[in-house]
Amino acid sequence: MQLHTLLVHELSELMEKKEVSCEELTRDYLQRIGQVEDKIKAFLTVTKEEALAQARAMDEQRARGEALPPLAGIPMAINDNICTQGIKTTCASQILYNFIPPYDATAAARLKNAGAILVGKCNLDEFAMGSSTEHSAFYSTQNPFDPEAVPGGSGAAAAVAVGEAAFALGSDTGGSIRQSAAFCGVIGLKPTYGCVPRYGLISYASSLDQIGPITRDITDLALVLNTIAGRNAKDSTSASVDGPDFKKSLVNSVKGLRIGLPKEYFKTGLAPGVAAKLQEAVRKLVELGAVCEEVDMPHTEYAVPAHYIISCAEASSNLARYDGVRHGLRVEAEDVLGMFKKTRIRGFGAEVQRRIMLGTHALSTGNYEACYMKALKVRTLVKRDFERAFEKFDCLLTPTSPTTAFKIGAKAEDSLAMYQSEVFTIPVNLVGVPAMSLPFGIAEGLPVGLQLIARHFDEGTLLRVGYTLEQNTSEIRPKPGLSR
């Protein structure tokens, strides 16, 4: 059986019926990893032994007649910027090349408790700073649809797309989850800021970072979200309410739903193939009974520079702890200041250093008002754009990225051009609302992603629209060439 082509809820069913053991399932995925990982390079660490041990333990549990948790035996991948106890967590950085966290991130712990089996830790841009994995200190991940294209900022999307994991956890500061899901033809959700606890997510920009799931269908998304969402006593920014049951949002209807199409997102730089798919999606939604209308979001163009300043400013502070004193790389020097400097110069890659310097500049006396404070003001204006739009609309529909996956090397040297590929996902992080990228067909051989954006804590509407499209079109779930 080709278990790795099945969905999470299909695998769960097999598990429940005892048609497959945890170990069989895990071995199938590990075999798949062995088959494609040479080319894809989605993982920085494959946790073969740990995964098999966990699977065997769960099989023994089942043999004793004990009830199994909801995600029992389901192989998952986790991005390498999310802490996993006893398993190397590098953030794709030399500075954390040997860091083994003594604790699990809350989201990882919840999945572990739900029975999911970690098969590996995925590649990303160093400290999640980038949109292509080209800034990983170790290697780049390949797009499963095109060996010359990037997979987006998260290797986890590529891993899920080719069946190296049934689902994955990624992080989203400017769009990594959604953009890489769009580029790899899978579903990626950035939940509302605070919906999933950030405890254990290695901070890049704390006010923007959010952990979210990457799956192959909407039902799977609901299952994973049910497990990871909800309050955490250890994270001050986590929501104070327990999440609803997202399975209840799997409703096949968008009748009467008001969907806004932000004008500013359809203006310039949109690839013709992407634009065409978007129009097709709108037609489909209208056909299914939704009301789609244009909406003004006048501050959209300022979102990218504001996000750039805020994320770099926060990063310059968040990354100060990598000084060689406690964990990770230490480069010895004559004195303590020398150790700090040499460790950081050798440990951080060029893009990370660039953003630390930019952030330091933006926060320094004399620039604070003109840079950082101004960016915060823009953030407020962008929030108002969304508030106004949501007075009229239940959700917004945009392209996830202006283009399909770009070629490896095309933007690696141009930090700003790279940043522009997240121009449609970035405003969402500034505002904190939930957004999802949904695959919608292929343009010139590469997947196209739709972005759906909803009000704070209204992930349910995103699932509903996604589920309806999934049930009524054949555009969802493109199969990557590599999976043959």
Binding site: I82, C83, T89, C91, L96, F99, P101, P102, Y103, A105, R198, Y199, G200, L201, I202, S203, A205, S206, S207, A233, K234, D235, S236, T237, A313, E314, S316, S317, L319, A320, R321, Y322, D323, V325, R326, H327, D335, V336, L337, F340, T360, L363, S364, T365, Y368, Y372
Partner: protein, 480 residues
């Protein structure tokens, strides 16, 4: 009279008395094995995000209110970015832009007059870890050790306006501040355990001018007395510099206790801390009702208690001031008064014997074995005439050191006062026989000669005779 005036502001860090740290559940207990009270949050491990300890907000508010501060209903935390090995995250979480408490004051007594010192602000912040250098200083060491048990402990920093004018005033300010914080129960305020630390900003200017001189910041002072002495030294040093026609350099200086001087620690400008709002924590929002609820839990403070001791018990203001300067002393007084209703006598014993012994032995009241009940019993024995005042002092010292009941000490040491006339008559006869000259003096009208004779009887009884009874008996024997 000096031509110069000193301008001094104090920055006092006080560790709040909570069971757990500011942003994590680690214990705050003092003196444990290094790095045993740590977790991903207070170690600044990648991914460690914390949650505000609500008790800290309550204690900080209480301290602010006790210092007559306004309390901010909407404040937040900021990051202060700098690198040091004891700072695990590379930034300190503090309240830079909006302190929880601001615009307060406290009144101090110096040279018999009261002076108000305004308090600029009191804000919450986290403590860094603690460094131990193999070679004395970080620069001179090949190896240094860091203990992060202290990392993330909750502090409030209380900043005074530069309105203090002398080392004496600084000491009085610190004593008053300590008493208020101790009364409110927000901190242990123990300088020797580091739960109270003080830095001083010192400058001088010609009397009559209003512009501020260049200031230095003085660190490493480990007692109130050290603060006082360091300030006195630094003021003199700066005046000498100016008198020599030179300029004071803005720098941080360290107090060297055994030499009694301050020396340069760093003369670099303050670093740019690049402060910005802490993005991982929610703001602190307080309602007026909640603040009033905290205010209601503040007990009677030193000034009010002092006034009450004067008004209700007729104590001299000075005595009341000394007794209320420490909560322990004030409570000792009140408890003794419950059992022995003569406030002035109790006060005399506290001001005299108790403080004398504490100072001589360099002890805190809680280290002494004497109890308020014990003191009351002792005073009753003296009042009944069972022992003399003089023997009482002896018994007090035993109680102070060993903690027995006074009756027991009197019994064991055979210190009971002899009031029995039959017992005394024989001794008085002997004294009269041995001192004919004094007897003659007395009988010829030199009344004061009787004092010598009483003294001789006391000596013969090793102080146990009741001096009143002896006096009366002598007068009768010698025929007035």
């Amino acid at each position: 009279m000096s031509r110069y005036e000193a301008v001094i502001g104090l920055e006092v860090h006080v560790e709040l008395k909570t069971d757990t740290k500011l942003f994590c559940g680690c214990s705050t207990e003092f003196g444990q094995e290094p790095n045993t009270q740590v977790c991903p949050v207070c170690l600044g491990l990648p991914g460690g995000t914390g949650v505000l300890n609500k008790k800290v907000v309550e204690l900080a508010t209480k301290a602010g209110l006790a210092l007559n501060c306004a309390i901010g209903t909407y404040t937040w935390f900021d990051r202060k970015n700098y690198y040091y090995p004891d700072l695990p995250k590379g930034f300190q979480i503090s309240q830079v832009f909006r302190p929880i408490a601001y615009k307060g004051y406290l009144d101090i007594d110096v040279d018999g007059r009261t002076k108000r010192i305004n308090i600029t602000r009191a804000h919450i912040e986290e403590d860094p870890g603690k460094l131990a250098h193999a070679g004395g200083s970080i620069a001179a060491s090949h190896t240094s050790y860091v203990d992060y048990n202290r990392s993330g402990m909750p502090l409030i920093e209380i900043v005074s306006e530069p309105e203090i004018r002398s080392g004496d005033e600084a000491k009085a300010y610190l004593e008053k501040l300590k008493a208020i914080l101790e009364y409110t129960g927000v901190s242990d305020v123990k300088m020797e355990q580091g739960s109270l630390r003080c830095d001083a900003n010192v400058s001088v200017r010609p009397v009559g001018t209003t512009t501020l001189g260049t200031r230095t910041e003085i660190k490493n002072m480990n007692s109130f007395r050290a603060v006082q002495q360091a300030i006195e030294y630094e003021v003199d040093r700066q005046i000498d510099v100016l008198e020599d026609g030179e300029r004071v350099i803005q720098e941080t200086r360290g107090w060297v206790e055994n030499k009694g001087i301050t020396i340069t620690m760093r003369n670099k400008e303050n670093p740019d801390y690049r402060c910005f709002i802490e993005p991982e924590l929610d703001p602190i929002e307080l309602t007026a009702e909640w603040i009033e609820g905290v205010r209601a839990t503040i007990p009677e403070l030193p000034d009010a208690r002092r006034k009450r001791l004067v008004a209700e018990h007729g104590l001299p203001d000075y005595d009341a001031g000394v007794i209320t300067s420490s909560l322990a002393l004030a409570e000792f007084f009140d408890a003794a008064l419950q059992k022995y209703p003569d406030a002035k006598t109790i006060s005399n014993w506290i001001m005299g014997e108790l403080l004398r012994l504490l100072n001589a032995r360099n002890m805190e009241l809680n280290e002494a074995k004497i109890t308020p009940d014990g003191l009351a019993s002792l005073l009753q024995l003296i009042e009944k005439g069972s022992i003399s005042h003089k023997i009482g002092k002896e018994v007090f010292e035993t109680m102070f050191e060993e903690g027995q009941e006074p009756e027991q000490i009197v019994k064991e040491k055979g210190l009971s006062q002899i009031s029995d006339e039959g017992q005394l008559a024989r001794i008085i006869e002997e004294v009269i026989a041995k001192n004919p000259k004094s007897v003659a003096d007395f009988q010829s009208g030199k009344k004061q000669a009787i004092g010598f004779l009483v003294g001789q009887v006391m000596k013969a009884t090793k102080g146990q005779a009741n001096p009143g009874v002896v006096n009366t008996m002598l007068q009768e024997k010698l025929g007035k």
